[in-house]
């Protein structure tokens, strides 16, 4: 009897000890898992947007090494969406259901971002967009999506403000390709131009397959606008720039609503003097110590200086590192941390704050190109604007 009691007591103690050990172990596992934020990096690593997606990932990996230098705080689970909206949604589903990521990030394209937006909003999966300017991504009512890149309508607002600062009542010619982001930029430009007393003398919109603009440039020249807004799709942007300069437009008359490094190099040395909008440039005077380190490291790795797209990806991963402690607790916590974010971009100190529908506090630099070489260019800051997303009726203007 005594032996049986002893045995039973021993079993109870052993079981209790095992349960206690298991509990302690599982707490340990949870504590260690809680320290790492699992992020689904759904990006354009093949297809038409390979270059942007690849450059973005390279910048993100640089940041990841820095963020995880003292222990793993952020983990990127990488999926290639092939620059295909359907594939982007499928990759988001996989990251959600199988990989159980806490949030999704990594897109560099408005179309794939919109596809993920639908999935993220329906499935309560926080989505932090590094690079995509289409306004609808943060339309009123958006709950899960937050965007690092200011919306495209605002880019047009900046263009109008800049033209006015150079010459009140200036006349503007528009030469641009027909794509969704450009339509949004033009909506902002036209809206603000009317308010600021600028006159748009001609608007020439090319299909995305256009290759030559000789006749249209001649027509534009005949109208003698003070400035020409130039935004061609892909390679046509460089062709358009070359043809405008060949036709006698001074570079100082040309304004590009956005300028990425490879795009700027393709404009060529004759475009020195022209203006472009951007959110980051390696020539900025206000780069932080970390910003300069990023420029050097990226240039060493890739052979060219990073632009705004690479910077958004780099800054996004650093921002994720900042919020990892709280956000890794779960999707609800991640959403709340993003909503209440009050941070600064690690490279420039520009604020990172989101409004109630996930739109970031708007800002933009205007740079003037000074020289273009084979692998690099120099530019100086002409202006910097910061404004609220409510300054313009963005979602009424956006197509």
């Amino acid at each position: 009897m005594t032996t049986n009691v002893r045995k039973a007591t021993g079993r109870v103690i052993a079981t209790g000890a095992s349960v206690a050990l298991l509990a302690v172990a599982s707490i340990g596992i949870e504590a260690s898992a809680a320290a790492t934020l699992r992020v689904g990096w759904n990006s354009e690593l093949s297809g038409a947007w390979t270059f942007t997606g690849g450059a973005c990932l390279d910048a993100a990996k640089l940041a990841l090494d820095e963020v995880n230098a003292n222990g793993k705080r952020v983990e990127l689970v990488i999926q290639d969406n092939q620059t295909n909206p359907a594939q982007a949604a499928a990759a988001a589903r996989l990251l959600d259901a199988q990989e159980k990521v806490t949030l999704i990030s990594g897109t560099t394209n408005s179309d794939t971002s919109l596809a993920i937006y639908g999935f993220a909003e329906d499935n309560h999966l926080p989505f932090l967009v590094p690079v995509a300017a289409f306004p609808r991504l943060t339309k009123p009512g958006t709950r899960e999506t937050f965007r690092m890149e200011p919306d495209a309508v605002g880019w047009g607002y900046v263009a109008a403000k800049f033209f006015k600062s150079l010459k009140p009542n200036a006349t503007i010619g528009i030469m641009s390709s027909d794509f969704a982001v450009n339509r949004a930029i033009l909506a902002g430009l036209k809206y603000q131009a009317e308010k600021d007393g600028l006159k748009i003398v001609s608007e020439i919109v090319f299909p995305q397959t256009a290759t030559d603009a000789t006749v249209q440039v001649a027509q534009m020249k005949a109208l003698h606008p003070d400035f020409v807004y130039v935004a061609g799709a892909s390679a046509f942007d460089a062709t358009l720039t070359h043809q405008l300069i060949d036709f006698g437009f001074k570079p100082e008359q040309l304004y590009h609503p956005f300028g990425a490094p490879k795009q700027i190099l393709a404009w060529g040395e004759s475009s020195a003097g022209s203006y472009y909008g951007t959110f980051f440039d390696h020539n900025l005077p206000n780069l932080t110590e970390n910003g300069r380190r990023f420029v050097d490291a990226f240039r060493k790795a890739k052979g060219y200086s990073p632009g705004y797209q690479e910077n958004f990806c780099y800054a996004t991963v650093h921002f994720l590192g900042e919020i990892a402690d709280k956000a890794s607790a779960g999707r609800d916590q991640a959403r709340e941390v993003l909503r209440g974010a009050d941070s600064k971009e690690i490279t420039t100190g520009v604020p990172i704050q989101f409004d109630e529908s996930g739109a970031r506090t708007e800002y933009m630099y205007v740079m003037q190109l000074k020289s273009v070489g084979k692998d690099d260019f120099t530019a100086t800051k002409s202006s910097y604007l910061e404004w609220s997303a409510k300054t313009l009726p963005i979602y009424d203007l956006a197509p």
Partner: protein, 292 residues
């Protein structure tokens, strides 16, 4: 008045330059299809590849233009003759080979497109070759960059040389004989298979030259190969497969239609106006303007 003159002159400049470069690429396609009955759907990708390799050799490897140009042509020829050895020659004897070749070359086009995205798409998304000539000239009163003038001159020279070769050289006459009737050509002692290879090599060399001229006159991106496939197929069909003169005439019609319509209409309408012009030509000559 000055403004009208500038616009009018720009129509001529644009029409001639664009039309001539497109005619060169279409002539390459037309030579191949007219002889072998091969609708070479990867022609646009070979055109793009030529421009991309020229860009790479000049900007990344630092080769001078005089060395890069023959290297690109040699690379294009090496590619098609490897394909000829492995794939194309297997179907020479088939009566229904056109559709087989279409499927094979469409697959090849997809593979080349993927290869370019993998190889070049990681380096950049736009590709500008260094201009081989600086400054610009005036086609009064319209300024034209010397690089584009050079591209036009080279394109016109290639087309003239091609027409002269087809008319005056015995190999050129053999090609024309096969265009017209391969059975009769065989009876006259022409080696049909060798003529097929000559057409394949000549057509590819001309296409690669077209790709390089386009890269000099404009800027490349990775989508232009597909656009060029559509345009050059249209030019070949309307001009008449096998006819270099047809490619030249229809190429110029294409360039001028686009330029003239640009004066009065939206660029989107102008870009697609050539299709209407081509439909009108096909309505008048269903087998092509210069069909055999």
């Amino acid at each position: 008045m000055d403004g009208y003159l500038v616009v009018a002159a720009s129509v001529i400049v644009s029409g001639v330059l664009v039309g001539t470069i497109y005619a060169v690429v279409a002539a390459g396609l037309s030579l191949i299809h007219g002889t072998i009955l091969m609708p070479q759907a990867s022609n646009g990708q070979i055109f793009l590849g030529a421009g991309l390799v020229l860009w790479w050799l000049q900007t990344q490897a630092g080769w001078p233009l005089w060395l890069a140009v023959p290297a690109v042509i040699a690379a294009g020829l090496a590619l098609v003759f490897s394909l000829e050895l492995l794939v194309f020659r297997r179907f020479y004897a088939r009566a229904d080979r056109s559709i087989t070749y279409l499927v094979v070359t469409l697959g090849l086009a997809q593979m080349l497109s993927g290869l370019y995205i993998g190889a070049f798409g990681r380096i950049s998304d736009t590709f500008s070759v260094p201009p081989p000539a600086r400054g610009y000239a005036f086609i009064d009163p319209t300024p034209v960059s010397n690089a584009r003038l050079l591209a036009f001159t080279a394109a016109a020279t290639v087309l003239c040389a091609l027409i002269a070769f087809l008319r005056l050289h015995r190999f050129g006459r053999a090609l024309r004989a096969v265009f017209q009737n391969r059975d009769v050509a065989r009876l006259r002692g022409i080696d049909i298979i060798s003529t097929y290879r000559l057409a394949l090599g000549l057509g590819t060399a001309v296409t690669t030259v077209g790709g390089m001229l386009y890269a000099v006159a404009f800027t490349l991106d990775l989508t232009v190969g597909w656009t060029m496939t559509l345009i050059t197929f249209s030019i070949m069909i309307v001009g008449g497969p096998g006819s270099v003169l047809g490619a030249l005439c229809v190429g110029l019609v294409f360039g001028f239609t686009q330029a003239i319509v640009s004066v009065f209409a939206d660029p989107t309408i102008a870009t697609f106006a050539y299709l209407l012009a081509m439909l009108a030509m096909l309505f008048l000559r269903p087998n092509g303007l210069f069909s055999r």
